[in-house]
């Protein structure tokens, strides 16, 4: 029961991060700022959802459910490796493709 509540809380937290990341991708003004929202979806959203699912599947050896958990953790580790690589490649390609970052004057006069 406690594990059920923990897993649902984790999945709901992951959904929150996914929705916030989606809204950020939609509303941020620039490629480089949108990368930030997309990275939040990739790390926290996917991580929390996968951790919640692996709490659901459990670790019992008799019914072979530990294999499901191992697969979920493999997906999680793989996303953890590939998401920064894809983000870095995208930022470098955008910079190489002459996409100018937007500049905002923050307060003070002399910059």
């Amino acid at each position: 029961m406690v594990w059920d509540v923990l897993s649902w809380l984790s999945i709901l937290g992951g959904l929150f991060f996914i929705l916030v990341g989606g809204i950020g991708v939609l509303r941020f003004p620039d490629v480089y700022t949108r990368l930030h929202a997309a990275g939040m979806t990739d790390t926290m959203g996917a991580g929390l959802v996968l951790v919640g699912l692996s709490i659901q599947s459990g670790l019992s050896f008799q019914s072979g459910e530990w294999l499901i958990t191992v697969r979920l953790l493999m997906i999680w580790a793989f996303l953890l490796f590939t998401s920064p690589i894809a983000t870095h490649a995208l930022a470098r390609a955008a910079l190489h493709g002459k996409v100018e970052p937007i500049r905002v004057d923050v307060g003070g006069g002399d910059a």
Binding site: I68, L79, A89
Partner: protein, 94 residues
């Protein structure tokens, strides 16, 4: 409750798809498609739990691999203009 997770991920996918359709530059579209792929991996995993068929997790793993390789390939193609020459993307760019 898995249905709630499915619907939430579907809403996130819709937002990413709107950005992919709107995106002013090419990189916006690639970014939105990369995010869409990550959410698709999560959707496949949750659907496997919803249907009681955890074999779907293998599909999710393969989809994550293909999504990453596709993103890198598209970015390299538009950065270098060629997929064949591996030496140009390393160091030594002017």
């Amino acid at each position: 409750m898995f249905a709630v997770a499915t619907v939430g991920i579907g809403i996130g996918m819709t937002l990413a798809m709107i950005r992919a359709l709107l995106g002013p530059t090419l990189y916006d579209r690639v970014l939105a498609l990369n995010t869409l792929g990550t959410k698709t991996v999560l959707l496949i995993a949750v659907l496997g739990f919803l249907a009681g068929r955890p074999e779907f997790l293998d599909l999710a793993l393969v989809y994550a691999l293909i999504n990453f390789i596709g993103t890198i390939a598209v970015l390299k193609y538009f950065e270098v203009g060629d997929l064949g020459k591996a030496s140009e993307i390393g160091g030594g760019r002017s």
